[in-house]
Amino acid sequence: MKKNFIVALLCFVLFAGAEVSAEDATQKVITKVEGLYCPFCSYGLETQVKKIKGFKSVQINIKEGTAEIEFKPGAKVSEKAILTAVEDAGFDLDGVKWLTGKQK
């Protein structure tokens, strides 16, 4: 009985862990940023976004006024952290859309 319980517990932990990893491996968010016009400012946004814990990469599209940000697996990223980065770069955040792995 005790042995079965330990096996079940291990399975649960492994299963739960696998689910989190799968979700975290694909964390990607696209942000719409107001006033994103030129590299003098888009480079500033990149600088601030890189400071978010768990940052992996960013693709900025000046013409669309968007930044697609990818985070490392396991990173706990909040929308507040993204908002802070955008505001520190001197912009207003128009919206956040989680493409994958939305955080709470």
């Binding site: 016009y37 030129c38 590299p39 003098f40 480079y43 500033g44 600088t47 890189k50 000046i62 001197g90």
Partner: protein, 330 residues
């Protein structure tokens, strides 16, 4: 009511005439040779990944800050690759985002780093000599430095873009003074600046580039105020020109700026994809460019430099190339 309408109609007619006159009143240019260009997107020598800044030394050698390739490339005046240095990192001689360039009287090259918030000094061959600066708001610190310029007394001026100020140093990096504060100029006042002064003499809104003109006058591209502000080398406001718009003499994000030996100014106009030429007092002379990939067209010019024979080099950021123009005014 009818009189009021007539007055408004006359006013707007007058305004239209002024605007059309401003747009058309430019001095024609004569190109002494066709424009040439070099570079394409990539990381090989001679290629660029978002070239961002440019300077030319006294012998005509051209230095380009290749921002996303984290390096400086050196070329002959006609674009032949000579050497390169850098690489990604924060060790001496490395770059995260080289963003501004200037050359001193001995031919040494100064490079600002937008992400690392410091200035590095190199020999003309790329040997690291020294650096100064760190991230912050205090004197001598930076928050994304971009433009660099050196005056005849060998002082170096830095547009500290995200701190919305200009800082002045000697060539050993010793802080001398600073000026400027963040404040956007009213768009309406900017647009109607031929009627009412927009003010904001000490205000800056993301200053990007800086140039030293004749008589050591400083010109700062106040990018998001869509204007150029002239100062003495002591930081005293002299005058300003430009406004938001698409007509000659106005800007949509003023960026690179350079002065030729006669004092004429060349200002890159990022979102209008053109270069505009002004007198040293800020009177509009002419413009060229337009959005595109063809010769003489631009996709977001970010910097301008003048060669020893008056060649105008333009960083065509979005097209990942450098364009050279040989221009003579008629």
């Amino acid at each position: 009511m009818a009189n009021w309408k007539t007055e408004m109609k006359n006013y707007f007619s007058f305004l239209l005439v002024v605007i059309l006159f401003t747009a058309c009143a430019h001095v024609p240019l004569k190109e002494s040779a066709p424009p040439s260009s070099w570079g394409s997107q990539g990381s090989s020598p001679g290629q660029f990944n978002e070239p961002f800044a440019i300077t030319v030394d006294a012998s005509g050698k051209v230095y380009v800050a290749d921002a996303r390739n984290h390096r400086i490339q050196k070329f002959s005046g006609d674009g032949k690759f000579l050497t390169q240095w850098g690489g990604q990192g924060n060790e001496p001689g490395q770059f995260e985002r080289p963003s501004g360039l200037a050359v001193d009287g001995e031919g040494n090259i100064f490079v600002s780093d937008y992400e690392l918030d410091w200035i590095q000094k190199f020999t003309p061959e790329g040997k690291f000599l020294m650096q100064w600066g760190s991230s912050g708001k205090n004197a001598g610190q930076f928050n994304s430095p971009t433009g660099l310029a050196i005056d005849s007394r060998q002082n170096i001026f830095v547009t500290d873009t995200y701190n919305h100020r200009i800082q002045k140093f000697d060539l050993q990096g010793n802080f001398i003074k600073e000026w400027g504060q963040y404040k956007p100029v009213s768009v309406i006042k900017s647009f109607f600046n031929f009627l009412v002064s927009p003010g904001g003499e000490n205000d800056l809104n993301y200053p990007t580039r800086i140039a030293v003109g004749v008589n050591d006058r400083l010109y700062v591209s106040d990018a998001y105020n869509n204007r150029v502000v002239a100062y003495s080398i002591e930081g005293e406001f002299l005058f300003q020109f430009g406004s938001i718009g698409i007509l000659g003499g106005s800007f949509r994000v003023s960026s690179g700026i350079a002065s030729d030996k006669k004092g004429n100014l060349y200002v890159a106009d990022f979102y209008n994809h053109r270069v505009q030429m002004f007198t040293e007092d800020g009177s509009f002379l002419t413009q060229w460019g337009g959005k595109g990939q063809g010769t003489g067209q631009f996709d977001g010019p970010t910097d301008v430099a003048i060669g020893p024979q008056g060649q105008v080099y333009v960083v065509d950021w979005g097209n990942h190339r450098i364009q050279r123009f040989n221009i003579k005014r008629e």
